[in-house]
């Protein structure tokens, strides 16, 4: 009996050993390569770190803390650096958030970049949705692994990324780059609002968007309205919506989605009534101001007073489909949906600014920025910045806008022939750009996702009729204050 037991244990161990050996077999060759690479990379990254020390005080700590981590673990992807001594390999993580051949497009951009910059090799990695990219990077950093050198993440993740020490500001790179300042100044200020904090630029706007009003021109014409004129004020829009609503529910005048990120469209209401829900400070929100209250009351009145919008939560993803099928005469939605709406609608589509509130036009911005990771070596960070500059060249941004429907974030991009022609053919594409002068920053603070959720829940509770606007906003303000109390600035 005893013999069998030992034999069983022994066999199990042998099996396990075999397994490990098999693992090892597969990787021994690479492991040895990595070790040699590691030693050389180690040297190069220390010199790089030394250089950075002289460059600026702020990056000294960055370089110092990352040296040991990156030199041992980053080795896996940097074998080539050691091999040739010239090529810097950088990894680029991107999410998808809109329809389109995103992966193929980025592969194409990377190939173009490498052709123009033979000393840099870019590896593009699809990393899920926005939330997945953040999870992937956080896991990799916490687990002591290699992570991206440059990545697209939500512009509102700025404070989360900075608080967790994941990204570096771009100032040094911008200073070193040729015409760096002019390049940065060419971005629309509304987009930079979510990219800068504490006087530093943490992210570069890339795939950005803003909500607009879509309206069905055919229905407008049918009802005797001017189809070329989009409703200018909230009152005007609400009256039209009421008129276009059919009592049997077969057509609603307006649909404003309120799931997913309900705070976002609501921000347009608050801004157009005089005050955004967030200012420059990252530890303060202004949820229960008179402007915010008036905005939320307007939002609610579409359901309760005008009866032009169905009661209850409206699903974000279904809203464009309701518009296309004619079930909604007008919708609020992102410009990111423009391409698919134009291609699917069997009627002529009008696009306008979000209607003005008591203090004029107003809308938030949204979408993703390009970030450079703190964990990367100084050398890779520099290469990553060159890649960012390449991606934000006017021609490339114009192409990206055409492929995806995002709003090109640089003024120069709209001067390219591609976008000039696009706007001439389909003036709808120009609306979001023109609205940018009235746009303000998207809700972003410390603990950003949670704060967004607090406001979103407040908005939803009013839409579903559970709370009255004043109480909902007061509660949300209290909850957010409590959450942000620990943050000094």
């Amino acid at each position: 009996m005893k013999f069998y037991r030992y034999f069983a244990a022994l066999t199990a161990m042998v099996l396990f050993a075999l397994l490990v050996a098999a693992c090892g077999d597969n990787t021994t060759t690479t492991t040895s390569a990595v070790t040699t690479a590691a030693s050389t990379t180690n040297a190069s990254s220390t010199t790089a770190a030394a250089k950075a020390t002289t460059a600026s005080a702020s990056s000294t700590t960055a370089a110092a803390t990352t040296t040991n981590a990156s030199s041992t673990t980053a080795a896996a992807t940097t074998t080539t650096v050691a091999a040739t001594g010239q090529v810097t390999e950088i990894t680029f993580y991107f999410p998808t958030a809109v329809e389109g051949p995103i992966t193929k497009t980025f592969d194409g951009y990377a190939a173009e970049f490498m052709k123009a910059n033979p000393d840099v090799k870019v590896k593009t990695v699809f990393a899920g949705g926005y939330a997945d990219v953040l999870t992937k990077i956080q896991t990799e950093v916490k687990g002591g692994g290699t992570t991206a050198d440059v990545a697209i993440m939500l512009s509102t993740d700025l404070y989360t990324l900075a608080d967790n020490d994941l990204v570096v500001p771009m100032e040094t790179f911008i200073k070193d780059a040729k015409d760096g300042d002019t390049w940065l100044k060419d971005f629309y200020p509304a987009f930079l609002a979510n990219s800068q904090a504490n006087g530093k630029t943490w992210g570069i706007p890339f795939q950005r968007s803003t909500p607009v009003l879509y309206y069905n021109k055919d229905i407008f014409k049918e009802a005797g309205l001017d189809p070329e004129k989009s409703p200018a004020t909230f009152k005007e829009m609400a009256d039209i919506a009421q008129k276009l609503t059919k009592a049997d529910g077969s057509r609603w005048g307006i649909k404003i989605p309120s799931d997913g990120f309900p705070y976002w469209l609501y921000q347009g209401f608050a801004i157009s009534n005089g005050q955004n829900v967030v200012g420059d400070a990252a530890n303060k929100v202004t949820f229960n101001t008179p402007a915010a209250l008036e905005g939320l009351k307007n939002f609610q009145s579409l359901i309760t007073d005008y009866k032009a919008m169905p009661k209850g939560v409206i699903v974000w993803g279904d809203t464009p489909k309701d518009f296309i099928s004619g079930n909604a005469a007008m919708i609020y939605h992102t410009t990111g949906s423009l391409t698919s709406i134009l291609s699917q609608a069997k009627f002529s589509v009008g696009v306008g600014f979000l209607p003005a509130g008591s203090k004029g036009y107003g809308s938030p911005t949204g979408g993703g920025n390009l970030y450079i990771m703190k964990k990367s070596s100084a050398e890779k960070q520099k290469a990553a910045f060159r890649f960012i500059q390449f991606l934000t060249q006017p021609d490339r941004l114009a192409d990206w806008t055409q492929v995806t429907g995002y709003v090109a974030p640089r003024k120069a991009a709209w001067e390219t022939d591609t976008l000039k022609k696009l706007v001439a053919d389909k003036p709808q594409y120009g609306v979001a750009r023109d609205q940018l002068q009235y746009a303000q920053k998207e809700l972003a603070t410390h603990e950003g996702a949670q704060v967004q959720q607090i406001l979103g829940k407040a908005v939803q509770s009013v839409i579903t009729g559970d709370k009255d606007p004043q109480k909902a906003l007061d509660d949300a303000q209290k909850e957010a204050d409590k959450l942000l109390a620990d943050y000094k600035d």
Binding site: T27, A76, V98, T103, G128, G144, I324, S337, Q344, G405
Partner: protein, 280 residues
């Protein structure tokens, strides 16, 4: 008597069949919807044209799905991942199940309890530690990294321990008298009597790992190591514009096709194995 007796069950048989038909139609609806949506022309929104086919049948959703994702590469990686995990699991759970069922050793109950606790820890909570382990082994972005956390299975061990315990000890004793060592016992007595448990476990293991998303997404960066779910997510992640049902449906069909065929072919065996193992 006989005639009356046989008439009655016929009538109730017919009722039973009808209700089964209804239930199966309800169960099939998602699949049929997926199929119909995937064949709908891209430009047709849901309210346009024939409620089933829109304005016609079109393969452009599939074309789009194939352009966006290197499915064949992902199929290869998924097959290696899923069956690699399964084959190692079958060995580890057999040995562990046998040890827990029949051997006596120090701390057996305690170790078994630890194993059961492990079932209750959600795998997402282990993301970072697992990552750190894989990283320290230098296996990041390899197929081994994909498989490593799943090579042992607490659930499978538990299932086999229970199954092995139900096999009468007399059989084992008889085997011993005939001169079987433990390996022969497993080979001739335990494994053949537990085929249905093995089938049931294999099925759950395959479908669980076929659907695994977050771990493969995080631990791999190269196309050759990525699995089908990661490919599918490229079509699904359209949070900003809202779901593109046609393309999602096409992608879903591409991903589930092998499992679906596998199931149709081995349908009877699967169902029997579930019935016999008492697993739901």
């Amino acid at each position: 008597m006989r005639i009356k007796g046989s008439k009655k069950p016929k009538w109730s048989n017919w009722l039973l069949n009808l209700s089964l038909l209804l239930v199966s139609i309800i169960w099939l609806t998602p699949l049929i919807m997926t199929l119909l949506l995937s064949l709908r022309p891209k430009k047709d929104s849901l309210g346009i044209g024939n409620p089933f086919f829109g304005t016609g049948v079109s393969l452009e959703n599939f074309q789009g799905a194939f352009e966006a994702v290197p499915w064949l590469t992902y199929y290869g990686a998924t097959l290696i991942f899923v069956f690699g995990v399964l084959s190692v699991q079958l060995i580890t759970i057999t040995l562990a199940g046998y040890a827990f069922a029949r051997l006596h050793f120090f701390g057996k109950d305690f170790i078994f309890m630890l194993l059961l606790i492990q079932i209750m820890i959600p795998s997402a909570a282990l993301l970072v530690p697992n990552f750190a382990t894989v990283q320290s082994l230098g296996l990041f972005d390899t197929k081994w990294a994909l498989m490593l956390p799943y090579l042992g299975s607490a659930f499978g061990t538990f299932l086999l321990r229970q199954t092995f315990r139900q096999i009468p000890r007399d059989l084992e004793d008889a085997g011993r008298i005939d001169g079987c060592n433990w390996f022969k016992l497993l080979q001739h007595i335990y494994i053949p009597s537990s085929i249905s448990a093995y089938l049931a476990f294999s099925l759950t293991s395959i479908s669980a790992h076929w659907n695994e998303f977050l771990w493969p997404l995080i631990i791999t960066t190269s196309d050759e190591n990525r699995v089908l779910t990661v490919g599918l997510s490229q079509l699904v992640r359209t949070s900003e514009t809202g779901a593109q049902y046609g393309q999602i449906s096409a992608g879903t069909l591409i991903v589930i096709a092998p499992l679906l065929i596998l199931f149709l072919v081995f349908q009877r065996q699967f169902i029997n194995s579930f019935l016999r193992s008492g697993l739901k």
